[in-house]
Symmetry: D2
């Protein structure tokens, strides 16, 4: 997997203190296995977030209980295996609160993600237990994503949207100091439909009949993500930039780290 | 409106031969009036495309019949006022086929956009009636947008997705020569929810109750779009780049036009 | 309104101890006004339940605080005006717990109705505070309705589904003793689309364009509902039958009350 | 399967000239096999209609081409195997046009069912090629079903809705002479969720996690359907009544046939 191969180099190149990877499609597009989780952690991920595909590999319902570093959406029903947020120690010694929540618009029927996130931010805030706070908001609609960004603006270091598999170009630091991007995109081949070989998805749109299984596209991957630097005093965002390396998309790097 | 103010300067700065604007939210976020359409055309738009909000101002049902330059989605039901595509003369004398279609995933119940677009491309193809072909695919889901892009790859100059109001960073020229971007984004204030003041949308997500009307956010606008250069012989894409000017988003310009 | 005219006669004819009316479309199809609520209460309703249309008349957001007898769905967000359940005294002196909840499948994004209802049933159960318990589950999908029925079977006297505006013929007493019907239907003219004049809805399905407002169909109404008799000792259902009177639908009456 | 066992007796008891069965869930809840289709035809079905589950058993994509009596929704994409309507000879010698169409509200993305049905009715109408015309409209929303009923009122003998698996009690002959019911219900055990054992569906609503497969409920089935008598001269409906036999639902029979 592209992210696994690239991570060690990226950690070194950018001297990263903390790395978060969304792994909901890590197993050939469908969920995550324990082995892949181990590989991601070995490659340098500190936390692996997920989304609607988290249980595609049913073993995840079991092994998630053994890995604090694996999160599933916070607003899943009470009693769901695993946890939706956690406090983690970064390499620089800072405490990082990572929250994984899921949107409802055009998605599953879940309890309110706004209230769920709010409740975590009340329990552990910037300069009140956490040196940095990161939200992976796994959602479809840009309206819900932007609303969530503004909802937590000033209370978290960063919100990164996921789920559409396409990076957006609206990265910005909101007025309250929270870095925001609607979608980080996927790590995969962008000559595809959502990272999967394009023939079968196109065929289904035309015929409404599945004719074969979805398989991951095998072209060169683009590793997509964001680079964030937080203020040590406030925990808010100082610098924020997209990362897009390899494959077909326009290259993007956090220049501010390279020039130093 | 930001696009209207900026267009004359952009036409000159980039020496544009043909300009397409999506105007479905031109009237304060809801549809388009005849007056605004006139202003857009005066400012230099050659064609104005739309989407699900096209009839928000009901007068559009009437005046669309008088303006060839105003398109509504092609796959609206037979009998719908207006047209979904047209052949237009560019300033350089080329014939440009512009198609406006709408997706179905998480959208309205419409007839198949793939078949509708296919039928237009069969009737008038590159080097068979059109020097360039442009599709505004107004859709929500990235899966449907990417599938459409690949579906017309090699048969059109460019597909630009619209509707999410957020620009994507996946602009590329597909293998067959068709320029593609999942979403062009909106022209408006990105300190907002979809261009609207953020308080009311946030409040509705939390309370599920409308408490006031949506109003457009009044901060500085970012004009978002794409720049396309086609090959005179084939009509396929030669160069393709995002444009983001003003406001809060990271500036992007088609360097290839400025350096010449 | 048909229900208002008919209620006094029905109370007398069947010697009813307690009457519940869903009033979400009482105001010409859209919500409920204080005046109509008063009329319903005067006509003999003990409790008025609602659903997704509850706030169509915005005054309801205010006056609901003054009427214990008006319920809105229980699983609306915390902070929503009004209440989702209440304990009411029947004419025979019994305490009746009435719960109003709303489904999520094909409906609004709300918190889990199963957990919300469960929590009320835990707080006040049959023979533990309530002599009878009635749930109006306002939902679209028969899957969610049937699942809710079985979920509360043995813990409530009755679940009546609402929202589709069409009575179902699946009334039964479930194995645990809870009376169940997927939908009670509406009180209105069944020569219509959901009680509204049929021309505009048909036109919208064909054209996808609103051409006029919806207005209620004015033909003779069928009053639709159910008749329930509970066991004084257990609070569970003893007899359960549909009621359909007047208008175009096949007449149905609770024979067991008339023969006594 | 309940319908297969019951059909021969029903054909005789009511002296039926023509029998239509919806078989989309005939194979343990998921689609239909060739063997089950054969059994249905042997048991006395003249035509078997389907719906969104038609291809659950993939063999149906192949064998449907060999059976004129098996219909899939008319408004599936062009090129879909099988047909959406057909003209069949009844035992009394009359020509019966049977149409199977599928709704779009809360269902799949398909082309307009209203236009598709209209086109068939234009091609072959009552007293213009067909002695009777029957539409199985497989749809979720009562709004779309009622709109379709009125849309074809006077042009078909009967529209029966299917898909919710719950019979409705709104059977009537519309003003133009077309018999109408929103849903015929299923043939199966009504101590269930849509005919499936109830534990797993309830569990999924609560946990949002599949924990086992759906299996059909094994209690006594109720055979649900409708009885229609058409006018020989006009092809319109003369008498129309629900049929519900066996199992947990209130028994219903077409009295008009028994008293003769
Ligand atoms: Fe994903
Ligand atoms: Fe996802
Ligand atoms: Fe828009
Ligand atoms: Fe739109
Ligand atoms: Fe209603
Ligand atoms: Fe409703
Ligand atoms: Fe179905
Ligand atoms: Fe079915």
């Amino acid at each position: 997997m592209a992210a696994i191969e690239m991570l060690p180099r990226l950690r070194e190149r950018y001297r990263l203190d903390f790395v978060i990877v969304n792994g909901e499609n890590a197993a050939g597009g469908f969920g995550i296995t324990e082995q892949i989780l181990e590989e991601l952690l070995d490659a340098g991920a500190d936390v692996v977030t997920t989304g609607n595909h988290v249980w595609d590999q049913r073993e995840a319902l079991v092994f998630i209980e053994r890995y604090d570093q694996l999160l599933r959406p916070l607003n899943f029903p009470p009693g769901t295996p695993g946890k939706g947020c956690g406090l983690f120690k970064a390499r620089n010694g800072q405490e990082v609160l990572v929250i994984n929540a899921m949107g409802r618009v055009f998605m599953n029927d879940l309890d309110c993600p706004f209230r769920a996130v709010d409740s975590e931010l009340e329990a552990c805030g910037l300069a009140r237990g956490a040196d940095a706070i990161f939200l992976d908001f796994h959602a479809e609609a840009t309206s819900e994503k932007e609303a969530m960004g503004h909802f937590i603006d000033g209370r978290a270091s960063c919100m990164v949207g996921t789920h559409t598999h396409v990076p957006t170009a609206d990265h910005q630091i909101l007025d309250g100091g929270t870095a925001y991007i609607s979608d980080a995109g996927m790590c995969g081949d962008y000559n595809s439909v959502l990272g999967m070989e394009k023939e079968e998805p196109i065929s289904r749109f035309l015929s409404r009949i599945p004719s074969s299984r979805f398989g991951p596209a095998r072209g060169e991957a683009t590793v997509c993500g964001v680079a964030l630097e937080t203020d040590d005093a406030t925990g808010l965002a100082r610098r924020f930039a997209p990362v897009r390396l390899g494959g077909r998309l326009a290259r993007a790097e956090p220049e501010f780290w390279l020039s130093e």
